[in-house]
């Protein structure tokens, strides 16, 4: 039986009607498109009166399909679907076509715009006839949440949820939570002590009854989907029995093996082979660094085991896989520092007194390797002139095109610390000074007043090749002072490189496990850059902090809280709807060729070895349709985007090309050549 199609063309005030002859479109559709029983135009379709128009027609005219030609479906698809549903028509039998953003607003010629609108309406009408009613599914939401990353963003998210009474699993790769913030001395622009504001949060997390913490652990595997993820966590062997250890620290004290600490101390200081990264670490349980421990490398020592009062040392401990189930996941994996040796003209690694920003942070920190003294690499000489170079590895298409967002302010903070702690002159070499947030510009003003020197120009090179006698023994910073338009060579004793923030080296790998994507730069992609900044394309997976893009502490905290709020909302709702736009495989047609097996980034396609067919796991399918178009046997169907639906849409969209004086035998439906030739018969 033929469908009964209703067509509704919106004026959107003059937004559409100003450029498109909407009456003509509606009239034409009513006359020319098969199976159309109602075709109307209306001032504002999205108004309650407009919606009522549709609902009434469905009831009174017995419409079985509805087409709304209006704005973008991203704005009002839900509205019109709801209207249909209200009138008893399955919501997936309603099709929107976009004649505002895609036609009226971008066109300049009324007649051509009207023609384009007709083609789009025809396409939607042809397509809608092939649409099938679909039902949304529901999944219950497990109230537990996994937070990946124990930096400030992850800690904030953890606390928000735990305080609200929901269980949280927190996974941190390093032996202690705290993240980069634990390494800093002061925070801009208020100059609060970083440790003073961070450590209370760390211990709160460590002691919270709703938090189960896995430090020195990594996410191994994620399966399932929103509401019920199954996660495997690899608890790396600490070689210290967590339950027995009291955190007294005797083992660390007695350990005879000193190791350069390239992580927490950024290579500026030492730790032991058994260690906690820093005194306020949470948990206090140390780990043995097996690559450097004398027992593990040479089979001698065992001092830690001998001194441990609770026999907590276990040299035979193995990695452990722990499986948990959660309803949602918050990713807060942060950033890593740009490798400054990639820019050899700045001399890092070759010239001793060129430092990275993280090295300098540790140097400034009173608990750091120099006890907070700003000195040259020799550990004693106080520098007289210090250069701070901005945008090292940022705003540079050869490395990272983006602005790292925090360096300008951190450079100002460094400038302040230098001026406060030493008598040195301090120079900032910047391209543009970026101080947009609250109280940031005021901080810049403060440094101007404190006498920090600002040179506008990206430094060309740092060299020890002196040209003039007064350059001897110095590092010379060569730069064009772009405000003067001349080249300058400024001799200094110390150079600090404001290295870029980069995505974690394994961000992509973790993204694949979670089914979330990365931008070209490697940061996790949010669902919408403005309106949905902490959700991702994968339902139930949220991002917070610098793993989504360079961010300072306030922004990271805000995102951590935002992600937690989103998760709490999901938990409170208790269930989530599952879109029915998914793929399915006709096992009769499937030959088990396995072309599709490798194509799904969500691992939603499984192969049944016994039956020799592939199958789509409905709950994991996100409906992209890639497998549908790959199937050589035509065995996979994509709901709501089936081959038939798109073919029909094509026929509609090209209605005028088909009718446009093409030869009759050229009809695209493979229709037969005319069989008019009379043949003499018996």
């Amino acid at each position: 039986m033929a469908e009964r199609v209703g067509i509704y063309v919106c004026h959107c005030g003059s937004n559409i009607a100003g450029m498109i002859d909407v009456e003509e479109v509606a009239r034409w559709a009513g006359q020319s498109i098969k199976d159309v029983v109602v075709s109307r135009d209306y001032k504002f379709m999205c108004s309650s009166l407009g919606q009522k128009l549709i609902e009434d027609d469905i009831r009174e005219q017995g419409l079985t399909r509805v087409v709304v030609a209006a704005c973008s479906p991203h704005l009002h698809e839900k509205t019109f679907r709801r209207a249909c549903q209200n009138a008893g028509l399955n919501q997936y039998l309603c099709q929107m076509t976009n004649i505002r953003e895609h036609v009226s607003w971008v066109s300049t010629d009324r007649q051509k715009a009207t023609e384009k609108a007709k083609a789009l309406v025809a396409a939607a009408a042809e397509r809608v006839k092939h649409q099938r009613p679909l039902e949304q599914g529901f999944v219950k939401v497990n109230p537990a949440t996994l937070v990946i990353g124990g930096g400030i963003a992850g800690l904030q998210a953890t606390l928000e949820l735990a305080d609200a009474g929901y269980p949280v699993y927190l996974v941190e790769r390093e032996p202690s939570i705290g993240g980069h913030m634990a390494q800093f001395d002061k925070t801009f622009p208020t100059l609060d002590c970083s440790a003073c504001i961070l450590t209370p949060k760390m211990s709160e997390v460590g002691q919270h009854e709703n938090v189960k913490m896995f430090t020195y652990a990594e996410v191994e595997e994620v399966s399932g989907s929103v509401g019920c993820f199954k996660v495997k966590i690899r608890q790396k062997a600490r070689h210290v029995i967590f339950e027995k250890c009291t955190g007294c620290g005797i083992c660390v004290e007695k350990c005879p093996r000193k190791v350069v600490d390239n992580v927490f101390e950024a290579g500026m200081g030492y730790r032991k082979a058994i260690y906690t990264p820093f005194p306020q670490a949470v948990p206090r349980t140390p780990v043995i660094d097996t690559a450097n421990c004398t027992w593990f490398t040479r089979g001698k020592c065992q001092v830690c085991s001998k001194v441990c009062p609770t026999q907590a040392i276990d040299y035979d401990q193995k990695d452990e896989i722990i499986q948990i189930e959660v309803g949602n996941i918050i990713v807060a994996t942060g950033w890593k520092l740009f490798d400054c040796t990639r820019i050899p003209q700045y001399g890092y690694g070759r010239l001793a007194n060129v430092f990275t920003n993280m090295e300098f942070e540790r140097m400034c920190n009173a608990a750091g390797p120099t006890g907070g003294k700003i000195v040259l690499r020799d550990g004693k000489t106080e520098p007289r002139r210090i250069a701070i170079i901005h945008c090292v590895g940022s705003r540079d298409v050869r490395h990272n095109q983006y602005c790292s967002a925090v360096c300008c302010m951190a450079a100002l903070k460094f400038g302040h610390l230098v001026l406060e702690k030493t008598k040195a002159e301090v120079y900032s070499f910047y391209i543009d000074m970026r101080t947009p947030m609250k109280d940031y510009e005021e901080f810049y003003q403060r440094l101007l007043e404190e006498g920090m020197h600002f040179v506008r120009g990206k430094v060309a090179e740092v060299t020890d090749a002196a040209r003039l006698p007064d350059e001897q023994g110095s590092l010379i910073v060569q730069v064009e002072d772009t405000l003067l338009g001349t080249q300058r060579r400024i001799p200094v004793d110390m150079v600090v490189l404001m290295a870029a923030l980069e995505p974690q080296a394994d961000a992509k790998e973790l993204g694949l496990k979670l089914g979330i994507s990365c931008s070209m730069a490697g940061w996790y992609t949010e669902r919408h850059p403005k309106l949905d900044p902490v959700a991702t394309m994968t339902d139930g997976v949220f991002v917070a902090g610098a793993c989504q893009g360079p961010k300072d502490i306030p922004a990271s905290v805000a995102q951590g809280a935002a992600a937690a709020a989103r998760v709490a909302g999901m938990i409170t709702a208790g269930k989530v709807t599952i879109e029915p736009i998914i793929a399915s495989i006709d096992e009769q047609k499937c030959s088990g060729c396995r072309i599709c097996n490798n194509l799904c980034p969500y691992n939603a396609i499984e192969y049944d070895e016994e039956k020799g067919v592939s199958r789509v796991v409905a709950a994991m399918c996100k409906g992209c349709g890639t497998c549908v178009s790959a199937c050589p046997a035509n065995a996979i169907t994509g709901a709501h985007f089936s081959n038939e639906q798109i073919a029909a849409e094509l026929e509609g969209i090209l209605w005028d090309a088909i009718a446009d004086g093409r030869p009759a035998s050229a009809a695209p439906d493979g229709s037969k050549a005319p069989q008019s030739t009379p043949v003499g018969a018996a």
């Binding site: 945008c391 705003r395 050869r398 430094v459 060309a460 090179e461 064009e480 001349t486």
Partner: protein, 189 residues
């Protein structure tokens, strides 16, 4: 000084971009000064390469083509490999050299004369000719310095490092046909 008139439609910038391979990268200039800071001749330039790009953006053709920047360039390509926006700075300088020579805007430099003498030798013999270059160009543009060159030239000569006669390639006709055709194609635009 009156403000320079800015060309409404910046044809100059378009011209420079069109004449330079990958010249469109110029649109991305951040005015960071990496080029000017890196230049070994930077101290000798009235305008740094960065400033030239700013002037090109402002459509100030006269100031750009009469600048000494191009003639101080030693083609070391530091600016090119360091530019954070991958602007082919050295190649832009080459473009400006050509425009400046074509329109005779250069001043206080012998570089165009050297280039002319050099290319003439190539066109005539298919090879460069150092002695001819040294004598011809120096006598042409700076007879005094030719005198200073004397002792050094003599040392070079005695060590067999300077030939008094140019070498000519065998198939010079072929090369000249190619050169002739290339000029003709170049003139088409």
């Amino acid at each position: 000084m009156a403000a320079a008139t800015v060309a409404e439609n910046n044809t100059f910038r378009n011209e420079v971009m069109a004449e330079t391979p990958n010249g469109h990268r110029m649109l991305h200039c951040l005015q960071c000064g990496t080029c000017g800071g890196s230049c070994p001749s930077g101290a000798d330039m009235e305008l740094t390469p960065r400033a030239l790009i700013a002037l090109i953006n402002a459509g100030q053709r006269d100031r750009v083509l009469s600048a000494n920047t191009m003639w101080a360039c030693v083609s070391c390509y530091y600016c090119t490999v360091r530019c954070p926006q991958e602007i082919p700075v050295t190649d832009i300088i080459y473009t400006l050299k050509r425009l400046s020579i074509a329109e005779r805007r250069y001043k206080d430099t012998d570089a165009p004369a050297l280039a002319k003498t050099f290319t003439d030798f190539v066109d005539k013999y298919g090879r460069s000719f150092e002695f001819g270059l040294a004598t011809g160009y120096h006598l042409l543009s700076r007879p005094l310095s030719a005198l200073k060159m004397g002792p050094m030239g003599f040392s070079m000569f005695t060590r067999g490092r300077m030939s008094l006669l140019p070498t000519k390639i065998r198939n010079i006709g072929q090369l000249q046909a190619i050169i002739h055709k290339a000029r003709e194609i170049g003139a088409r635009r």
